[in-house]
Structures are given as C-alpha cells and as structure tokens.
C-alpha cells in the first residue's frame, strides 16, 4: 500500500492482495520486468505471479502446437485472387496509333508494360504509373539503388526505355514522361522480389519479355 494508495486504482475490478499491493500492479511489474524487495519476498505476490506465469506458458505451449499453425496457404491465396479478379479495375481507355485510327488500350495494360520497361534498367523498381491526357502523359514513380552514381542519368535512361516501349511495342505516342524517384534503396535489401514471387510476371527479367537490346 506504500507506493500505491487505493485512490490510484482505476479499475473497479482490480483487487488488493492481502499484502496491500494491487494485483494489476503486481502483474504489470512482472510483465515489465520490475523487481523490488517486496515482490521477491512476499508470498502473496509470488503466488499471483506464479498463476499468471502458468497461464501464459500454458496458452503459449498450446499456441505453438503444430496442429494450430496454418499449413500451406496457396489454395487460400488462389481463393482470394479468384474473387479479386471478378472485380478488376482496368482504368481508362487510351488512344493508340494515329488520330484517325479507332484503337484503344486500357490504362492498366499500358501501365504494366511501361513499369516493366522501367525495370529493365538494372536495380530499378517501379510503383505508381499513371497515364492520361492528350497526348498521353506518364507519371511514373520508381525506387532506384542507393549506389546510383548519377540519378539524373538513370532517370533519363528510364524515360527512354519507357518511350521506346510505348512507341514500338504498344504504338502509344507519349507526351511528357515524368519520372519521380520516391526512394533510394539499399542494394542488399532491394532484391527479395525474386524469392517472394518466383512466378510473378512482373519480374524484370522474366522469360517472356527478354531483355531489351
């Protein structure tokens, strides 16, 4: 009771142990690793802590039971993506080719190809890619390696790759190509994609895309 008078009790369900300490305080001290002479010697406090320790070790041992752990989540991921693919957001149609041609490409399809083009530049990872306007302008966000010696030159290279892909592969004539560098990333930390998503068609070096000349 010395260091915690009853008026500091905030929980009406709290309980004062026979030694005068609040149960909530004894458990909080245990949880935060706070020790004092009283708790080390008081039988009531030790009993209260022993109860909590038993509870926690018991539920943890059950929680780590292998039968409780999720197994292969692959089928679950497929299930989620099946639902997601019923609700695609392809974006707006963009004009392709010459003005008198009535050809369109969906924004998302174009964005995908342009991100992949940007990622042909070693170490570059593409994020947001928005297309719109007349002529079609591109706003592209990328992460580039921290070790890039000349960021401007890299941005220019990305711009060129995007332009060539838009023009030669898609037949999409671009206006401005704005490349925004949103992060400089550590080379060591920047490569988990290949391990995280080995089947991802986004991989910059995926077989179907090959490497640009």
């Amino acid at each position: 009771m010395n260091n915690l008078p009853p008026e500091t009790r905030t929980d009406p369900d709290d309980e004062t142990l026979p030694c005068g300490r609040l149960l909530s305080q004894v458990w909080a001290d245990w949880e935060e690793g706070v020790h004092d002479d009283h708790t080390a010697q008081c039988a009531h406090c030790r009993l209260a802590v022993a109860d909590l320790e038993r509870l926690e070790s018991q539920v943890r041992s059950l929680d780590s039971d292998p039968a409780q752990q999720p197994v292969d989540a692959t089928y679950f991921i497929d299930r989620v993506m099946d639902v997601v693919r019923l609700e695609l957001r392809p974006g707006q149609p963009l004009p392709l080719g010459e003005a008198d041609e009535d050809l369109r490409i969906m924004e998302n399809v174009a964005a995908r190809a342009l991100r992949r083009a940007a990622e042909e530049v070693p170490g570059v990872r593409a994020g947001s890619c928005r297309l719109g306007g007349t002529p079609v302008n591109v706003d592209l966000s990328v992460h580039v390696p921290l070790t890039t010696p000349d960021v401007q030159a890299l941005a220019q290279e990305i711009r060129e790759r995007v332009d060539v892909t838009a023009c030669e592969r898609l037949g999409l004539h671009l206006g401005e190509i704005n490349v925004r560098i949103t992060d400089l990333v550590d080379d060591d930390a920047a490569s988990p994609w290949s391990t995280r998503s080995p089947q991802s068609p986004r991989s910059p070096r995926s077989a179907q895309e090959g490497s640009a000349p």
């Binding site: 309980e15 539920v59 989620v80 997601v84 693919r85 995908r112 947001s128 998503s197 068609p201």
Partner: protein, 195 residues
C-alpha cells in the same frame, strides 16, 4: 519470476518495406498481379492472427478473405499513412472483433462493463501446468468479452505492445491494459478451477 513476455513489436507487421510500398501503389492503380504479391506475402501471418483471435481456422479464412477483398476495393482511397501490413492487421483485427461480438448478443463496447472476474485471492485452485487441453483454453476464452479476448490475444499470443494494440483497435492504452488485466484474471481463475 522470469520469462516475461516480449513487450516490443515483432517486425512482421511492416512486411517487405520497399517492395510493399511499390506493390501497394500498383495495386491501388488496379494491378491485380501486384495485389497477388501482397496477398501472398501477408496471408500467412494474417491467417495466424485471425485463427488466434477466433479460435477457428475456417472462420479465420473467411475473415481474412473478406478483409483482402475489402482492401482491394478501398485501395484507390488508401493514403498510405501506414504500411499495407499495418493496415491489413487493423482490418483483420476489427473484423474478428465484430465476428466475436456477433457470436452472442452484446451491448455496445462503451455501455457494457466487462465481465466481473471472481476474486483472485479467494480462488482456491491453482492452474495445473500442461493439464488443460486446448478445449479447456478455448472454453475459457469464450467466457471473455470480445474486447477482452482481442486485447489479451494480441498482447499474449501475438506479443504486441499496449500502444500498438490501442492504435489497432482504436481505444486508449489504459483501456487496453484494463481489458488485458481482466482477461488474465478471468483466465487464471477459469483454468485454475479445471485442474
């Protein structure tokens, strides 16, 4: 008096950092392949979380699936103030809270006092280590209010800090501490009585 639980936050909430940021941007713009990468990366830990919170794997799968589909729909408005992982953790936790609330009629969070726990000092039985089966623990957990159960699970089984839990469920840190305390009191009593 050893074996204190961890008080920090496991790093998995932040997920793949740089990759996640880019994949979230792409998914927000409608790139379903990028969303698939996010689902693949976050599904295992979210399924584990929901299974802990609900105590039922099939229900957990439904909850996490709905959370992902809901996230796909709201991604265009996602401002990226938190990471995708933190956002999903919050969505799944709150969905599980609602599922627990629906399991039995409950008054709203603010109106209902948590279940009064029997006095600790007068509980005659001690907990017997290793004796209580999973069934007993599940039974004991079902006596907790949904709010107690969520706070206790995130604290004890998921090892989250009180501050993190407070932010996740949208109540004060003090309220989280009170709920975890009451849950512990209730559980030590319930499991102690069943030795």
């Amino acid at each position: 008096m050893t074996g204190n639980p961890p008080s920090g936050e496991p790093p998995d909430v932040e997920g793949g950092r740089s990759d996640d940021t880019l994949m979230t941007e792409r998914a927000a713009e409608g790139d379903e392949d990028a969303f698939a990468v996010l689902v693949r990366g976050h599904a295992p830990s979210l399924l584990r979380l929901a299974t802990r919170l609900l105590g039922d794997r099939a229900e957990a799968e439904d909850a996490v699936q709905e959370a992902f589909v809901g996230a796909w729909r709201s991604l265009p408005e996602f401002q990226g103030r938190s990471s995708f992982g933190t956002w999903m953790y919050r969505i799944v936790t709150n969905r599980c809270l609602n599922i627990l609330r629906a399991r039995r009629p409950q008054a709203p969070l603010n109106e209902l006092p948590d279940l009064p726990a029997p006095a600790h000092a007068t509980a005659p039985d001690r907990i017997t280590e290793g004796r209580a089966a999973l069934h007993d623990v599940q039974e004991a957990l079902s006596t907790l209010s949904p709010e107690q159960r969520i706070c206790w699970t995130l604290r004890t089984l998921d090892g989250r800090s009180y501050a993190f839990i407070a932010k996740t469920v949208g109540i004060s840190e003090q309220a989280v501490r009170a709920r975890v305390f009451r849950a512990r009191r209730q559980l030590t009593h319930s499991l102690g009585a069943w030795q």
